[in-house]
Structures are given as structure tokens and as C-alpha cells.
Symmetry: C2
Subunit: 188 residues, 2 copies
DNA sequence: GGCAACTACCTAGAGGGACTAGGAAACGCG
DNA sequence: CGCGTTTCCTAGTCCCTCTAGGTAGTTGCC
């Protein structure tokens, strides 16, 4: 009955890794327990239930994504910032599909408000858009357009939704160019 | 032991309705069987397994979406067609969240090639884009941009990803305007 | 150092969903 | 009518979530 030194954080991090392997929807407390050489019931000392584990992964993933985006946009503005933001976003989704899916999981709004990662992601977006000279409500509209396009692209690419003819990366760069042009001419 | 007159089609249609209620990921053969007043094992006479049921729902939903889009864009071109397409797309996603999620489910490419609904959805998009004077590879890039934005918006809105301040519908109309402008000036 | 409190792990078991094997009753067609 | 097929059944396996209650390590406190 040797102790394995598990903590809520280690479990959550392992869950994030597992999510990247098998998909965020398919993480399982049993599989996680197997990975630690422990019975599944034991994990309930560290995590209340599967739902809470998912929330933990979502917060972790959002923070990691925010780190990447923050590093990418640091010291840039306008087109440079937009391109760096977009690439960081897409790269994260490609490298960490499970974590990325977690960032988009439906979460209790009260909890979401406390999530540093989610808040920072929004902040970076708004900061970038303000540099284009936008103000409310254009800020909101443009922000939603960016999020929709980036997220939609990430989902479709991850799901193999694009035929294999043309490299998705080139389509993505084009999309970012088009968005840049749209932001410069906003509101048309 | 009265027969209930079940068929693969009735089961699939019920699964689509259930998906709209509880989410595409959460449909269950057991719940479906309960709805028909039948044991879960009985459904295996009509559907090979859960995976195949999901595929069936996906094909059904894609056909329904294609019908709506086809009706919307009939006789229109340019901005009119784009707006009608976008509204039909978003409305479908809002009215039938489960069916909409099904249209985006990862499916065996071989099967997907046989899906009339999926093919028509692609065809409508390409027809619309050709009216903007685009040719390959711009056609592919622009098509991916549209799909990404529409899909991303639908997912975020369905997940409650937009705060409640500004009505999503207005942001959506703006996004469509921006996309129209981008298509007219393509490639920038 | 020794004892109590706490915590990390355990076993046992309920409950539910996917799925299979094999059986019986309804149906459809000659 | 009777024969084969289809539809539904019971029974049971396996896997996952989650709870209750027990035991063994660890920590803190005198």
C-alpha cells in the first residue's frame, strides 16, 4: 500500500496528457488510475468527479494557451500581432488537440470568471483589436469574428474536415490576411 | 411481445431528435430503446452499433442542412446568396444543435464520399464562391474561411461562448458583411 | 518518542451503458 | 397451413462512474 504521491495537480496534468492522446471527451478516471498504478476509487481523494477533472483540465489548458499567445503577441501590433496570435493559436490546437478541446468546454460561468487563462485570452484579443482603432460594439463583433474563424479552423483541421489537396497552413495564412484586411477597413 | 414496427430509419430519426435534446455526444441506445418501449438489445436488429447510429444521424442531418441551404440560396448570387447561406446555416445550428453537431462528426472518408448531404453542402459553397469570380486555389482557401467562420460561430454560440451583452445575431450579420467584403476584394 | 488526527490508498459493490448469444413469438409468402 | 425470416426477448459480460467503509502510512503535537 505504498503511497504514490498523487495530488490534484498531478492528476489534472496527467488527464491533460491523456486528453491529447485519446481526445478530451474520452478521458477516463479508470485509464488515469491505471497510468498511476492505482485503483480508480483512489483518485476520488484528489478529484471530486469526472466533471470536475474536466474543468481542471480546461483551466490548465486555457492558461497554457494564454501563455503561448501572450508570448507570441508581446511587443507586436497590427498585422504582426494578428499573425503571431493566429499561428500560436493554431499551433497549440495542432500540438495539443485534447487540451485545445478542453479550452472550449462548456464550463460553469461563475468558475469561468475566476479562470485566469480564459480571461487573459480575451484580454489579448481585445488589446490587439484596440490597436486597429476599434471601439465597442465593433470590438465585440470583431472579437467574435476572430474567435469564430480561428476556432472553426482549428476544429475542422483537427477533425480532418479539410480534404488533403491543399495544405491547410496556406489556407490559414490566407484567412488571416483576409481578416487583417477586414479589420483595417472595419466597419467595411 | 408485440412488434413496434421499428426500422433503421425510424431509429435514426429518433436518434436525431434525441441528439437535439441531449447533445449528439450523449445519445444512448438505452435511452432510445426506452423511448420506443423496447429493450436496448432489440435495437441491434436495426443498427449495428452506436457508432453506426451516429453515422446515420450525421448523414440525415447533413441532408437536412443541405435542403435548407439549397432552398435559401436558390436564385440568389453574391451578397444575397452569402447572407441567405449564412442565415440558413446558423438557424439550422440553433434549431437543431444535435443534428448540427452530427454534421461535423468525424466520419469514415469512404462513407462521406457517398453522402449526398455533405457533397451538396460543399457544392453550394463552391457555386456561391464562383459567382464572386474566384478560381482555384482561391476557391479552396475562401471556402475554408467561410466554413471555419460559420462553424466556429455556430459552436461558440451553441456553447454559450459569447457573453450575453451584445446579441450574437448582430455580430453574425457583421461577420457576414466582413466576409462579403473579403470575397469581393480577394485576394486582398 | 508516542499518540492522535489526517490522508492516501484499498476492497466491495451498486448502477448504468454497449454489446453478444441464444431463444421465442410474430410476420410474410409459397 | 407451414416454413423461413425478422423482431423482440432474457441473460450475461465488460467497462466506466461513484459511494461506503476500512486500513496503513504520514504528520503534528505534547
Amino acid at each position: 500500500m505504498a503511497r504514490k504521491g498523487l495530488t490534484a495537480e498531478r492528476v489534472t496534468r496527467a488527464a491533460a496528457d491523456l486528453a491529447d492522446e485519446v481526445g478530451f471527451e474520452n478521458i477516463t478516471l479508470t485509464a488515469l488510475a491505471r497510468g498511476f498504478g492505482v485503483k480508480d476509487a483512489s483518485l476520488y481523494s484528489h478529484v471530486r468527479n469526472l466533471q470536475e477533472l474536466r474543468v481542471g483540465v480546461a483551466l490548465l489548458a486555457a492558461a497554457e494557451l494564454a501563455d503561448r499567445i501572450g508570448a507570441a503577441v508581446a511587443g507586436r501590433a497590427g498585422r504582426d500581432a494578428l499573425t503571431a496570435f493566429a499561428r500560436a493559436y493554431r499551433d497549440f490546437a495542432l500540438e495539443h488537440p485534447g487540451r485545445y478541446a478542453a479550452t472550449q468546454a462548456r464550463i460553469d460561468p461563475a468558475l469561468l470568471a475566476c479562470s485566469d487563462g480564459h480571461r487573459r485570452n480575451v484580454d489579448y484579443t481585445y488589446a490587439m483589436l484596440r490597436a486597429y482603432g476599434l471601439e465597442e460594439p465593433d470590438l465585440t463583433d470583431a472579437g467574435r469574428l476572430l474567435r469564430s474563424t480561428f476556432h472553426g479552423f482549428a476544429v475542422l483541421e483537427a477533425n480532418g474536415g479539410f480534404g488533403h489537396v491543399r495544405p491547410p497552413g496556406e489556407s490559414f495564412e490566407r484567412a488571416v490576411r483576409a481578416l487583417h484586411a477586414a479589420l483595417e477597413r472595419w466597419p467595411d
